[in-house]
């Protein structure tokens, strides 16, 4: 499903202040996995997520998603991939304040070229999945943090993506709401969606089936719940 092979992301290459955000990472994530990528700030986990999320391209190395090497894809091809294959859940929810809940969830479908009727049906389905059908005409700032994060999950899964990337999804929430969100991600995973969770918190990472630890751009450990992998 997702294969990172010898991936480097180097800023200011060959200069004195060279920064190796990712320093030769090789990582395989299979279909249907729930992987947490854990690391302190500066460990390279965000860069890793950007590359997995096709928001950025590696300086060197291969990135294969769905058997396609996208390391050197054009901007537009990457955009199409983000639209169809990937779903993002951000720490700050990243909903658009001027659009109501329904419009926010419909947004990826607009770029996917669906008709208005299809968009509405699919968006309602996704909102039903996260239990927010009664709030569709509200605006994001009229909802609580947990509700906003559920909207952003609905937005992430509305295109029926193969991979959901969650970047510190509980970072802005209290622990009880955070757990609800994590449980929602677990549910989505059980339904067959590959979930990649980025966090600095090992406790949150424990909701995943597999934990990959990063430090200084290198993988330091890779363990599956209840045992070590490789």
């Amino acid at each position: 499903m997702i294969d990172l092979i010898e991936v480097y992301k180097i800023y200011f290459a060959n200069l004195e202040n060279e920064v190796r955000a990712l320093d030769g990472i090789t990582l395989h994530i299979g279909k249907g996995e729930f992987v947490a990528i854990v690391g302190q700030s500066g460990s390279g986990k965000s860069t890793c997520m950007n590359i997995i999320g096709c928001l950025d391209v590696p300086t060197q190395g291969e990135y294969i998603i769905n058997d396609v090497n996208v390391a050197h894809y054009s901007d537009d091809a990457l955009a199409a991939l983000r639209n169809k294959t990937l779903g993002f859940v951000f720490q700050q929810y990243n909903l658009i304040g001027k659009l109501n809940i329904l419009e926010n969830v419909e947004l990826p479908l607009i770029y996917g070229g669906y008709t208005p009727k299809e968009r509405r049906e699919m968006a309602m389905e996704a909102l039903e999945r996260v239990g927010l059908t009664n709030r569709i005409l509200h605006f994001p700032n009229e909802l609580s943090g947990g509700q906003q994060q559920r909207v952003s999950i609905a937005r992430a899964l509305v295109t029926k993506p193969q991979v959901i990337l969650a970047d510190e999804p509980t970072g802005a929430l209290d622990s009880k709401t955070g757990i609800e969100i994590l449980e929602l991600l677990q549910e989505l995973n059980r339904e067959g969606c590959t979930v990649v969770l980025i966090t600095h918190d090992t406790h949150i990472a424990s909701y995943a089936k597999r934990t990959v630890s990063l430090q200084d751009g290198k993988i330091t450990s890779d363990r599956v719940k209840g045992g070590l992998l490789s």
Binding site: G53, D75, N83, F88, N94, L95, I96, G112, R155
Partner: protein, 396 residues
Amino acid sequence: MNTKQAFFMAIKSLKNSKMRSFLTMLGIIIGVASVIILISLINGMTGEITSQFEGMGTNLLSVNLMGRGGNMTGNHSANIDTMEELVEDNPEYLAAMSPVVSVSSATVKYETYNVTASCTGISENYGSIRNYAVETGRFISYIDVENRHKVCVLGSYEVEELFGTEDPLGQTIKINGEEFTVIGTLPEKADSAEASNDDIILIPYTTAMQLASNARLSSYVFQATSGDVVKQAKTTIENALYTIYQSDDSYMVMSQAEMLEQMDELTGTMELILVGIAAISLLVGGIGIMNIMLVIVTERIREIGIRKSLGAKKRDILGQFLIESATTSALGGVVGIIVGIVVAYIFGALFDLSISPSLFSIILAFGVSVMIGIVFGYLPANKAAKLNPIDALRHE
């Protein structure tokens, strides 16, 4: 994303900041409104002048002798007899001739009423040359001219101003202090407006020469036998005058058509200058739009990042911002067109000018304003489209 969607999004975004949108549009509104006003006024003016000229007939030729009529060459100079001979010798081209003596801004009095009018001294032929038929009374006759009778024919403007409903025939008026008898009146041609074809006083040219203390005739008007031979008629007159003066600097022969052409050229130049000024204001308006769009793009960097992370392509973002700026300026254009037409009509009513806003100028103004939105919106929109999604997402 389709255009309709982007259009509604643009309207929404305009509504969200009404004051800013209005100020952004103001430049375009003023530019478009001034184009419409200027073109309406010039069109109206040109139309008025053209219809005045056309009212005179198309087969007229005016002859002006310059300086002292070329008397320096000594023994020979053109006079009324020369002109009369010209008509007699060329019956195939020339139908009639009359001298024209202008007594400009003469003070005209009847009892306690007075007006300032231009008095024109003419011969008995003038009526047929200019298609003047009297409404009441009679026209100036050969006898009047020969005997320097102090008689006059009044245009309908003078009749209205001096006599109101009174019958002017046989009354005595004073022109520059001299007493004249009214022998005829002309029918109304242009609503009896001031400075129109109805603002006219005709007197015998011999009397006019006395009144203007002008010893020499320098202006004549000829009537060609038909509109088709105006050119030949002109050449005939010019040749005759050249034989007399041996120089073409001493006279000027101009046909009605040429005068119209000159008028057209003049208003055309005026139009060009005024529209040029309006174009500058449109340019400034466009820069205003570009400026505000740059601000809007900066304000919405995060939103652009979100859209990109959800799969928006470069052209989606480019399209969204282009449509937004085009909508802004098109809306400004529509408001400008409405303001322009309203103001033009108010001007027209205030200064008694005829107004004709042309459909062409309206379409042009709208098209130009949409184009301005696209041209000046391109730079900011392109800036937005080129943003790197990660940088945009991180932007606070």
